[in-house]
Symmetry: C2
Subunit: 357 residues, 2 copies
Amino acid sequence: MEHGVRPGWPGILEVYRSFLPITEGTPRLTLHEGNTPLVYADKLSERLECHVYLKFEGANPTGSFKDRGMVVAVAKAKEAGKRVVICASTGNTSASAAAYAARAGLEAVILIPHGYVALGKLAQAVQYGARIVAIRGNFDQALAIVREVADPLGMEVVNSINPYRLMGQQTAAFEICDALGRAPDALYIPVGNAGNISAYWMGFTRYYEEKRIDARPKMFGFEAEGAAAIVRGEPIAHPETFATAIRIGNPASWDKAVRAAQESGGAIDCVTDEAIAEAYRLIAQEGVFAEPASAASVAGLLKRHREGGVTRGETVVCVLTGNGLKDPDSAMRLASQEALVVDGDPDAVRRALGGLS
Amino acid sequence: MEHGVRPGWPGILEVYRSFLPITEGTPRLTLHEGNTPLVYADKLSERLECHVYLKFEGANPTGSFKDRGMVVAVAKAKEAGKRVVICASTGNTSASAAAYAARAGLEAVILIPHGYVALGKLAQAVQYGARIVAIRGNFDQALAIVREVADPLGMEVVNSINPYRLMGQQTAAFEICDALGRAPDALYIPVGNAGNISAYWMGFTRYYEEKRIDARPKMFGFEAEGAAAIVRGEPIAHPETFATAIRIGNPASWDKAVRAAQESGGAIDCVTDEAIAEAYRLIAQEGVFAEPASAASVAGLLKRHREGGVTRGETVVCVLTGNGLKDPDSAMRLASQEALVVDGDPDAVRRALGGLS
């Protein structure tokens, strides 16, 4: 083995212990989250004449960046003596909460709006053994109920109001700096609930204060056009985008996200579903299969490049928040290709493929 | 950052360069495959009174162990001047081939039997831009055609007959030893095409010869009962198991697998679909969502434990070959749970959950 790199990444609580609210009493919880690939995007870099890296958070244990915050939230819940964690979620949060609860020996309760969510979207949470409760009401009501019943029942809320979530999510910024040996010039990131851009900014700022980096990146966050509450300056009652993970009309961390963009000299902007779909395809050409919402970061980079906002030779990181395997249907729906059907003999196949090699 | 572990794992070609057929001319191809979690299974360890680790290969870039071999095979194909790679596959191999071909700037052609495979199973390959060719015939015919047309068309075959595949797959054994600081006492692994058990044995043997480990593990491979060609001693015309990734009736690496088991003092055995389903659930209780075929390793460990074949206090590693997100339908089908449906008010939810905390 070369390069001083050894297998056996022990997870973020261990590696970034001094940056996290870890005490003697905090359980050493891990599914070996973090240390996700920072993939150099050859084709995008050449096309945009700068250095583009993709931070592939889909490689986390449950397939999304949520694991970084959840491992901290669940460890602290266990430290506090809680036996049950609860959240309202129809996607990545539920999977992550259920996995870390199982790992920690706690119960997980997931509230969903009845009839709104195909149960298949919850396959992970179900497999990890979470208790699913469907309420007759919408998502906002589910979240309100979570907040109301958790305390009386002695359960810990692990929705984004849990402050440990953002603390854990900072570690992705640390990893980027550690891997590059510096901060990037700019960070591009999808904006849904707006927590993640806030967490990255906290992380870069922390490393800057500790003098581990000399400068902080400009932060560029991108909402989907049909769910662009921050860009429009008002909540959106019925957000619409095929990038479901950022289909959010009233972001919980709105103010923090705006502050991150402003303080860093960046911006919050939005991209169309068409631009997201195109970026989703370009990311796959680099060899990475991310979920559609992830592609908002790359769509944003392309938009800023067209507007002259990208400096030749600069180093940028685009955050890809989730694994494409979470949403194979989008891949199939957007594929332009039909399978070629030919007879089962070598000559037919040879003729069909003749033009390729 | 503590522990001398730094983010930025550069992939297996770089880390295990001296163990692989890498030359000056080999492209430095990577999607940062390898360095997958070795998860300590608390609950299984306690129950079986030994130390059980899960090597979660589903954390690889395309979600399966295939990436380790494919990165080597595609890099060598590019080094040899090939512009197209080709394989017959309906699953993990096609995803991996397509991803690394895209990464390397090569074309990928995937042959599948027409009508046999839901196109959705190919979502990854399609998204990575592979050309899918459906032939009127079965899988064996597809593979035969691949072997016949590849040379005349100047394409590289990346099915398991490609010798670089097993070389790359050895690296998982290296990682286990590097992470534990020794070899485990026993390795448990699913057996389908039988290549992976052979590759692990090559890897352990290589490390043993290089004196990086003092002893090699016993190798225990497990076929699904309905596809147990090696155990029965004859090919199976119509293999049946819900663990699709090991539904193989005539393993390509049959002899090598038998030799690995014999030389190591282990065995090839089989487990029922019921035992696989039970193990699949137990793995999720440790916080890991693997595809059903992966669970054959843990089912095998449980079987041997019942038979008295596991020594108290020994260290065993169970290989989990793929990500559960590849097959969410199995999770939903096997779930015993129905979602609880209640009215959208706090009291109703509190009543429903009262017993939990």
